[in-house]
Structure formats: structure tokens, C-alpha cells
């Protein structure tokens, strides 16, 4: 089975325990140890400065065919970006193949008034959008998502307004199943990273919505890669379904990106 991890970070964090894997060499070695073939990676520094961090990311992963760049973005505006009209186009030309938003950490709204202009550009390039609602005020995150729920109302509103964009909810929450069920039912373009799930949620969501609505991600290096690998390996679903979740669907989404 080919594993393509959609949720991997490069770059040092502000705590040594959280920075044990922060270089490309360390990451590749970690992936080899866990039998992970490919990873979609973002850079920690991009949470502070998207422009600088995304450039660092592309510089660091250059020549490493197993690593694909995921750019961190805030909504396009003239203060955060030197050239908001062309920023995304340049990023895609340079190798960015997906976009990740941190509305909690970067303090912005997922509502259309904040996001529409950015998503119109994203739609042009058919980039998959990863939403990470992790909240810096909750010290348990991302280590335990018990009691945590992403902004499913905001995600629903965006996904309904932009049905051509695939939205992947990262860290979907251990006890947020009612939100997850409702948003998967209402929006065919929403998918869930199958980390932080509760008991047999992979089996359940596969049986109701199909395996193509789940994507494997591990939140490496903050969370334990092996834990989420095991959740998928031991899920009570078919091998074909596991292969879609492990990497098949993510690969298909990335192949659909339109490069200018």
C-alpha cells in the first residue's frame, strides 16, 4: 500500500520536543522508518510569514520528489502580500500544489467576506485546500482533539460557495462526528483527514460516503505517525478502500492541479 501523508511539517518549532524532525533529511528518514512513500509538507515559518515560509519550504524540498509543497496562506490582501494579485500564480509556478489555512492561529474568518477573493484564485488553479482550525488557546491541541471541533459552519459555507474546490478538514475532531456527518452529507467536495477519529469512524464514514472522502494524514512531527498508520491498517474496510485513503485520492487531487 502506498502511503501519501497529507499533514507533515518542516521547520523548527519553539520547543525542542516539538522539533525532533524539522529538516528534510530527518523527515525522509522518518518516512522510510514508517513505510511512507510521499508527503505533502508545509513549513512552520509560514505560519509567521507565509511569503518567507513558503519560499523556505520550496527551497528545502527542491529536488526531493517524495515531498510536495503545501503553501500556507492567509486571505489575500495588500498588507500581508507584496503582490496579492499574482502571489498564488507565482507559487504554483514555483511548485506549490496545495494550500493550507490556519484560521485559528492566523486569526481570520473563514466566512466568504474574508475568503472569497482568495478562493476565486485558488479555484483557477484547482488547488486542494486544507483547513486546520487548531486553536493556540487550547494547550491540548493537537495532542488530543477530545472536545475540539473545527469551524464546520465556516467550512460548510465556503465549500457550498466553491463546489469546484476540494476542501480537506485536518484534525477533524474525536467527538465531532455529528458535524462531520452533516458537512459530508451537504458538501460532496469536503473530505476529512482520518486522524484524530473516534472508534471505527473510518469504517463508518466509508460505508456511508465512500473511501474517497477520507485522506490519510499524521500531523507529523507533533503527533505519532504510527498511531494513525495503524488506525488505517487495522480498519475494517477493503484493501481497495485503504489504498484510496492511504494516498490514491490525494494523488488524484494533486494531479488535477492546473499549472500556469
Amino acid at each position: 500500500m502506498m502511503f501519501f501523508d497529507c499533514n507533515v511539517r518542516l521547520g523548527r518549532a519553539n520547543h525542542p520536543d516539538n522539533s525532533r524532525i524539522h529538516t528534510v533529511v530527518q523527515l525522509i528518514s522518518h518516512m522510510d522508518e514508517h513505510g511512507i512513500e510521499k508527503a505533502l509538507v508545509y513549513h512552520k515559518h509560514a505560519l509567521i510569514s507565509p511569503e518567507e515560509g513558503n519560499k523556505l519550504l520550496l527551497d528545502e524540498i527542491k529536488g526531493h520528489v517524495r515531498l510536495t509543497g503545501c503553501g500556507v496562506m492567509v486571505p489575500l490582501n495588500e498588507a500581508d502580500y507584496k503582490d496579492p494579485e499574482h502571489y498564488l500564480e507565482i507559487q504554483v509556478r514555483n511548485g506549490i500544489r496545495a494550500v493550507r489555512f490556519f484560521p485559528g492561529i492566523n486569526a481570520f474568518s473563514l466566512k466568504p467576506y474574508s475568503m472569497s477573493k482568495t478562493l476565486q484564485q485558488i479555484e483557477t488553479f484547482r488547488l486542494p485546500v486544507f483547513i486546520d482550525c487548531i486553536n493556540p488557546d487550547n494547550p491540548m491541541l493537537p495532542y488530543s482533539s477530545w472536545g475540539y471541533s473545527p469551524d464546520y459552519d465556516g467550512i460548510h459555507e465556503l465549500a457550498s460557495a466553491f463546489p469546484g474546490i476540494p476542501f480537506i478538514v485536518l484534525l477533524p475532531g474525536m467527538i465531532s462526528q455529528r458535524f462531520q456527518y452533516a458537512v459530508l452529507k451537504a458538501c460532496p467536495n469536503v473530505m476529512l483527514e482520518c486522524s484524530s477519529f473516534g472508534y471505527r469512524n473510518i469504517d463508518f464514514f466509508c460505508s456511508i460516503f465512500g473511501a474517497e472522502r477520507l485522506i490519510f494524514g499524521s500531523c507529523t512531527p507533533q503527533l505519532d505517525t504510527g498511531a494513525f498508520l495503524s488506525c488505517l491498517q487495522y480498519a475494517g474496510i477493503s484493501s481497495a478502500e485503504k489504498e484510496l485513503i492511504a494516498g490514491g485520492t490525494l494523488e488524484r487531487l494533486l494531479q488535477g492541479v492546473r499549472i500556469p
Binding site: 455529528r178 471505527r200 491498517q233 487495522y234 475494517g236
Partner: protein, 76 residues
Amino acid sequence: MSRILDLAKRGLPFEGELLIDSHCHIGPTHSTFIPFNNMQAIVSDMERISIRLACISALTISMMGDPFLQNDRVAE
């Protein structure tokens, strides 16, 4: 590589190993639904993975609900 690690990486059952699940729950809870939340499903999973024993309690006893009723359900 240890045998257990090798089996885990390949998603195979832990036949011949002693595995005891020390933290297992059953029953509904207030804040979410839990699919396949019944004894047959849990036992079937244990057999599939080769877990010999599980220490099980009702999920919501510590948070809400009637602990006597829920303990009775677990005992059943």
C-alpha cells in the same frame, strides 16, 4: 525489528502475543455518536486484531448519566 512492530506495520493480527486493552468503553455518550457501539462489534474487533482481554466501562459514567444503570448495562 520486533515481531509486534513488524505485525503492526503490516496491519496483521497479533497472533501468539498477549494483548490486553486496559482502556475500553461501550455505550452511548451525549456529545457524539459512536458507530458499531455494541458488544458484538467490539468482540469481533478484538478477535480480528487478537486482543485477548479488554477492561471495559460505560463511556459517560464519569461525565453524566446514571452510573448504576450504566454499570448494569456493562455487566449484562
